[in-house]
């Protein structure tokens, strides 16, 4: 590894990366911490925490958050495992649906399932009111929120575990079978122990997502308030920014602890070596005693989720959900009469942040994997940390940090773009790191040896070799920007409003049809742009991995 000081371009790039991470990840978090620990008079204080915990309501909010995190993570991991097992081990036909299930929560507004749940189980819910005739059904609260979060987040566990199960060398299980073990025994004594680290990993990842989930908590949480929602309500509703930051710090600590556990404790403990090449095709299980129960469970869950998503476009074309199901386009007319600004703004800002996110994440991935420099582990930790920091915390940090000199960004499009970039980078970085690790570093050394500068090496060799990860990162960052809500809800203004925030506003006032119309438009834009990207890249011979 060559010394950085000999290479000014490289040194400059590293400096820019470090400064931007400090500016747009560390500083906002610091701003939240500072605000919560420093009194109006500028002195250190714990008053805001004391105040926060004096209210029994806030203690309940904390307990609520931890409890639902635990509950949702347990169930999501279990269902995720079921799907992963079916995917990797069973001979069933409808596996292609699994991928759709994994993608749907990403390409739709993060609270889409809450809307569908309200349509099905609300006071005028199709199932509760029309089919069961319940007059005062209440979907808001723990049960509704937990169900929605489980269905939204279990695909995370599914993806982690399916990846792991597929990597298991079938010879382990064959060896056990050869020694006379039954299928159940093999599952219990070989397969399951091998994926224990993966199970812990999924649990923590889902936990981080659940406690940070703002959209569903706001839409369907009802009286079951969680920290993510409470922070927003406290700061923006009660104008108690100090109290909000104290709560934000508590939420942040929970997430960071989980993140550190996931990354440094569980992450290291994998038995399954990832070689990149599966050793041999697994003989899929076709025994009906296993396939039927697991297959049926997966089938019903899949069908139910698909139904929930279909309800959104359907809900956008009926007159008044729950009362009058006559087809109509009036919600779309209403959306267009309000103006296309949020739609155009969202798409424009997402497109704008897309290439920056993509390039920055590849540069960071490259630096992490290939270069040794002072501060490398800080770059790695900080850039991945932004994935674990709850959106509400970072959103609050952004308004606190950039409200005054030296950087005044409040109310601008810039602040939204920066939040998109630094929130969406980790996925690109992870993809970049994974694909760089598969590439012999000698290839880049050869280029440099032939006279290419570090810039030239990066553009002519590194990027072409990791282009698939690069473009996946691009697509993903666009999609995430389009559907982001938790951080940007703090950052939108009269001049820049975003689709997801507009949708939440409509749900809030009960115009579910309008919200559904907006959501449908959002999903269509996402599908159109990603479809176009994939088509163009496909023509160029570049495969974009599914997200």
């Amino acid at each position: 590894m060559q010394a950085v000081r000999r290479d000014p371009v490289l040194a400059g790039t590293i400096a820019i990366v470090i400064v931007s991470l400090l500016l747009f990840i560390v500083w906002p978090i610091y701003a939240v911490l500072k605000e919560s620990f420093i009194s109006q008079q500028g002195l250190f204080t714990l008053d805001y925490y004391r105040e926060a915990f004096r209210q029994s309501e806030n203690v309940r909010v904390l307990v609520n958050t931890l409890w639902i995190g635990l509950f949702v993570s347990l169930f999501s991991t279990a269902i995720g495992f079921l799907f992963a097992y079916a995917d990797a081990y069973l001979k069933i036909r409808f596996k292609s649906i699994f991928n759709i299930l994994a993608i749907l929560p990403i390409i739709s507004p993060p609270f889409a399932l809450s809307m569908s749940f309200i349509m099905l189980f609300g006071q005028r819910g199709f199932i509760t009111y029309h089919l069961l005739g319940i007059k005062d059904a209440n979907v808001y609260g723990f049960a509704g929120l937990a169900a929605v979060q489980i269905l939204t987040f279990f695909p995370i566990a599914y993806l982690v575990l399916a990846g792991l199960l597929r990597q298991i060398d079938p010879s382990y299980e064959e060896a056990a079978q050869n020694m006379g073990a039954s299928r159940w025994r093999i599952f219990r004594t070989v397969t399951l122990p091998l994926v224990v680290p993966g199970i812990a990993n999924s649990f923590l990842l889902v936990f981080i997502q659940t406690v940070a989930d703002f959209g569903n908590a706001m839409v369907i949480g009802g009286n079951y308030t969680t920290l993510a929602a409470k922070i927003y309500l406290q700061a923006m509703g009660n104008y108690d920014v100090k109290g909000g930051t104290a709560l934000a710090t508590i939420l942040l600590s929970i997430s960071v602890i989980m993140f550190v556990m996931q990354k440094y404790w569980v992450g290291e403990k994998s038995y399954v070596t990832v070689t990149g090449k599966p050793s041999r095709e697994r003989q899929l299980i076709s025994d009906g005693k296993v396939v039927w129960p697991v297959g049926l469970a997966c089938f019903f869950i899949s069908a139910f989720i698909l139904l929930l998503y279909i309800l959104i476009p359907y809900g956008s074309v009926v007159n008044l959900w729950g009362i009058d199901f006559t087809p109509t386009l009036k919600h779309y007319e209403y959306v267009f009469s309000l103006g296309l600004k949020p739609i155009i703004d969202t798409t424009y800002l997402s497109l704008l942040s897309m290439p920056i996110t993509g390039i920055l994440s590849m540069i960071i991935a490259f630096l992490i994997v290939r270069k040794k420099f002072f501060g490398r582990s800080m770059v790695e930790f900080t850039s991945m940390l932004s994935m674990a920091v709850p959106g509400t915390v970072i959103g609050m940090g952004y308004i606190l940090a950039y409200n005054g000199p030296p950087l005044v960004l409040t109310g601008t499009a810039t602040i939204i773009v920066f939040s998109f970039i630094f929130r969406n980078m980790p996925v690109g970085i992870r993809a970049g790191v994974a694909s760089l690790r598969q590439i012999d570093p000698a290839i880049e050394e050869a280029a440099q040896d032939l006279g290419a500068s570090s810039y030239k090496v990066f553009t002519s060799v590194t990027i072409p070799l990791i282009k698939s990860a690069f473009f996946s990162g691009l697509v993903y960052s666009f999609v995430r920007s389009m559907t982001a809500v938790s951080a940007v809800i703090f950052l939108v203004s009269a001049s820049y409003n975003l689709l997801t925030v507009a949708i939440m506003g409509q749900v809030d006032v009960g115009r579910i049809g309008v919200a559904a119309a907006y959501s449908t438009i959002l999903i269509i834009i996402v599908l159109a742009v990603t479809g176009a990207l994939k088509l163009i890249l496909g023509r160029m011979g570049i495969a974009v991995a599914d997200m």
Partner: protein, 355 residues
């Protein structure tokens, strides 16, 4: 093109160990490689030979000392601005580029005209026998062909110094032998200084003008293949190069540059580079082919193992608690395990190393 000399002055490379001890990969190495010379750095894995090569290429910065190429101090110069070209162990061909584009890569970086590039690449591919393969991708080539592309890609740059990092270790045995000759031919043809890292002594012996034997980060010996084999400077070199029996002996009579030693109960007259002292204990290198076995007349021993190797018969024989390897080429008679035999040692082939 002009080949240049390479000069290393007190080069040290220390890797910071994580929390534990630092690792000294290269320990104060000074050496010169003359312009046009083909030198191998030979040693076991971990001896620092690859690190030294990477320091010359510029991939590693030495912790101390200086590197000169053609008289210019290049210690702080990045690889892209050094006049060296390296052939990598893994070939490191650009998988996204064709054979033609791989070879043309460095020329393009140099911003040569398209017509010159076309000409150079065509010449080069002809030289390595790959004409007609221009539009293939690396994964459509055999290992040997990939190796040739890697060679072509480096040589086409007309560097002053060509560096080889165990370039043949991924080839099968037959091809390896063939490519040795090929590389040597190319290097002679273009007259570039060559520095070649390997742990394979046969490669080193067959290709080099000079071999530099390294161990634990230091140079153990530098010399022609003959010097290295016949007069190893240390026990390590004797043991690492070829087969060697290292046997204790006592100097019975010391003379100027020669002497008589007491070895395995018999007296031998040997020559020695350093002065011997009477009564001094020394180690003697006995190459297995310096010993002949006979049915009578010599040092008595017992055959422990006897293995037929085709062109030779390999023995291990036992003499008062010591085991000695003996190789007999084209043997008239062969002995069997348990046979009593007599050793006849060619004293001209004995070599003394200091303890």
């Amino acid at each position: 093109m002009s080949s240049k000399n390479v000069l290393l002055k007190n080069v040290v490379k220390i890797y910071k160990g994580q929390g534990k001890k630092d690792v000294v990969a290269v320990n104060n190495v000074s050496l010169e490689i003359k312009a046009g010379e083909f030198v191998t750095l030979l040693g076991p894995s971990g001896c620092g030979k690859t690190t030294l090569l990477r320091i010359i290429a510029g991939f590693e910065t030495p912790t101390g000392g200086e590197v000169y190429i053609g008289g210019e101090n290049v210690t702080q110069i990045t690889p892209d601005r050094r006049d060296t070209a390296m052939v990598f162990q893994s070939y490191a061909l650009f998988p996204h580029l064709t054979v033609y584009e791989n070879v043309a890569y460095g020329l393009r970086v140099k911003k040569q005209s398209e017509s010159r590039i076309r000409q150079s690449v065509a010449e080069m591919l002809e030289l390595v026998g790959l004409t007609g393969m221009e539009s293939r991708y690396p994964n459509q080539l055999s290992g040997g062909q990939q190796q040739r592309v890697a060679l072509a890609r480096s040589i086409v740059m007309r560097p002053s110094v060509l560096l080889f990092d165990e370039p043949l270790s991924n080839l099968d045995a037959k091809l390896r032998v063939h490519m040795r000759g090929e590389i040597r031919r190319l290097q002679r043809q273009v007259g570039i200084t060559g520095i070649y890292v390997t742990h394979d002594q046969a490669e080193a012996m067959s290709m080099s003008d000079r071999i530099i034997v390294m161990n634990n980060g230091v140079v153990e010996q530098s010399g022609t293949p003959q010097e290295i084999y016949l007069t190893p400077a240390s026990e390590f070199v004797a043991d690492f190069i070829g087969m060697a029996n290292l046997v204790d002996a006592v100097v019975a009579e010391a003379g100027e540059g020669q002497g008589i030693i007491d070895l395995l109960g018999a007296k031998f007259r040997i020559s020695s580079r350093g002065d011997l002292r009477s009564g001094e204990k020394v180690r003697v290198v006995i190459r297995p082919e310096a010993v002949a076995l006979a049915g009578d007349g010599g040092i008595p021993a017992v055959v422990e193992t006897s293995v037929y190797m085709g062109s030779s018969q390999d023995y291990r024989v036992r003499i008062d608690g010591q085991t000695i390897s003996v190789v007999a080429y084209n043997p008239d008679e062969s002995f069997r395990e348990g046979d009593r035999v007599y050793l006849r040692i060619d004293e001209r082939k004995l070599h003394v190393v200091r303890k």
